[in-house]
Symmetry: C2
Subunit: 307 residues, 2 copies
């Protein structure tokens, strides 16, 4: 089990030469997800040699420009490259209208199929599921309707202990399926029972990644984030701008650390920095007064976790 997260952009508000708005690329169980898509994202994808064609699902947190102004350009570029794969877009209601209006006026309808999964619930909901991965929304508290996203590997099957299995001639290949599912072995005549624990190893831990941007400090997120392996939480401001954070519905580094600490996450990534701060190390210093295991997001930085 492994999760690989590439930070493309991690600053707030307006794009600058070396401060790109939010975009992340997540690899989880061979799925490739793009999370938010600020202006310039397609150029950053190229810079980090991320194949456009691998992206089949894009998750947009909210309709502030620094989180989605790059989406229409990416969709158009996919079209120019004769993409054939379907593209699924998950984001707030309104996004479909915005994209389709621009495609209509440019007469640039895509050859590939574009599916919009528009969100409007204020409760956490399952929005994507396949055999190996689930994605849930994390309702955030921002100036407009906003969701974070929780990406979870599904628990894998138990692994056969072939040495132990081999010592019981009555166990046949057709029994393996049930053993992997965690069931005890029972012989056909019902006379022999062998505990599953004796025959299998537990599966590797299913990993999870939570993306929370943008939001005011919201302790109600803690139960949803409990035990997450990797948490990206916005920290637009430091405590010196706590009032501004409150007015604009953003979080300070200290409060992001509070969330990470209360939710017992394994690692915290801070991001969505206001351009007013030149010394980003101050974000780490402030967060570490509460929670030690944290890092700064940075363009091109890769966070990889394995179990």
């Amino acid at each position: 089990m492994s999760i690989k997260l590439t930070i493309l952009g991690c600053h707030s508000a307006t794009p600058r030469e070396n401060a790109h708005p939010t975009a992340q690329y997540l690899e989880i169980k061979s799925r490739n997800f793009l999370i938010d898509c600020g202006e310039g994202t397609q150029t950053l994808l190229r810079r980090h040699q991320i194949s456009f064609s691998k992206i089949k699902h894009i998750f947009i947190s909210h309709l502030h420009g620094d989180h989605f102004f790059g989406l229409i350009g990416l969709i158009a570029t996919f079209g120019l490259y004769n993409r054939e794969h379907d593209l699924h877009i998950y984001g707030p209601k309104g996004l479909k209208e915005i994209i389709l209006l621009q495609l209509k006026h440019s007469k640039s309808w895509t050859n590939y199929k574009l599916f919009f999964h528009e969100l409007e619930s204020r409760e956490s909901e399952l929005i994507y599921e396949d055999k190996k991965v689930e994605v849930h929304t994390l309702p955030l508290d921002h100036r407009i309707y906003t969701n974070g996203f929780l990406f979870k590997e599904k628990k894998g099957e138990r692994k056969l202990n072939m040495e132990a299995v081999g010592s019981y001639p009555e166990i046949e290949v057709c029994d393996f399926h049930n053993l992997k599912k965690g069931k005890d072995f029972r012989s056909a005549d019902g006379e022999t029972t062998i505990s599953n624990n004796e025959l299998t190893f537990p599966p590797k831990k299913a990993l999870s990644y939570a993306f929370c941007s943008d939001t005011a400090y919201k302790p109600e997120l803690v139960p949803l984030l409990q035990g997450v392996d990797l948490l990206y939480h916005e920290s637009t401001f430091l405590e010196d701008k706590k009032e501004l954070a409150s007015i604009t519905k953003h979080t300070t580094a200290k409060d992001a650390a509070n969330i990470a600490s209360q939710a017992n996450v394994s690692h915290l990534i801070l991001g969505h920095f206001s351009n007013r701060y030149k010394d980003l190390d101050a974000f780490i210093s402030e967060a570490q007064t509460i929670y030690k295991n944290c890092s700064l997001a940075e363009t091109g930085k890769i966070f990889e976790i394995k179990s």
Copy 2:
């Protein structure tokens, strides 16, 4: 009289690290115009230290993404910086709807006034005029409704020849206005007439800049471009892709040179290069078989003409 043109982006289709879609910044008679606004334009404006607040008029040629996907981001950024000046946007019908829809969904209405001047005429028309400058559309032939723009300095007043004027005591200060306008001097009693040519110098030549992107080869433009001092004409392709140029309604370097030659322009700038070409010097070589005085557009390159 002087015109200063800064090339921000000059490539076609998708933005890349070192190949930016169309955007230009024109300074003419202390007016500051932005022409087209591909994704990433605001970052390029910063790179070239062009003040956001000076831009009061934006001209958008057409609604293909590589010419306007950066506009919504620029409008949003102006808002974040508490712009107060009005902003006028000239572009095809549909642009207003696209911009307003995004501002609505992001709840990011601007504090400054936004005026849309939507275009739909297929004939050249005067779309901007003040005391010193005029802007006319140049109807182009592309896959969707597209205009180029002709920016013209207005002819200035004649300059008084003070030595000559001083030699006629009957000429008073209140006569200067008429002399500058080119009228002959006539004394109040009607007895004395002095030719204007004797009393004034001609005004400096009024300069003009024409922007033509994107378009198929369109000889009908020639009369509209006659004698222009500086012409930017798209040359997406070389002659090796003449058929593709025809299908996609673009122009080859050779045909751009044909337009420049037939219209007797003083200088031609080639741009809107397809990313398939790595050696852009080939565009100059091809164009110069027809028309010598030409240059390649290039990010950051400045073209300045004076009279």
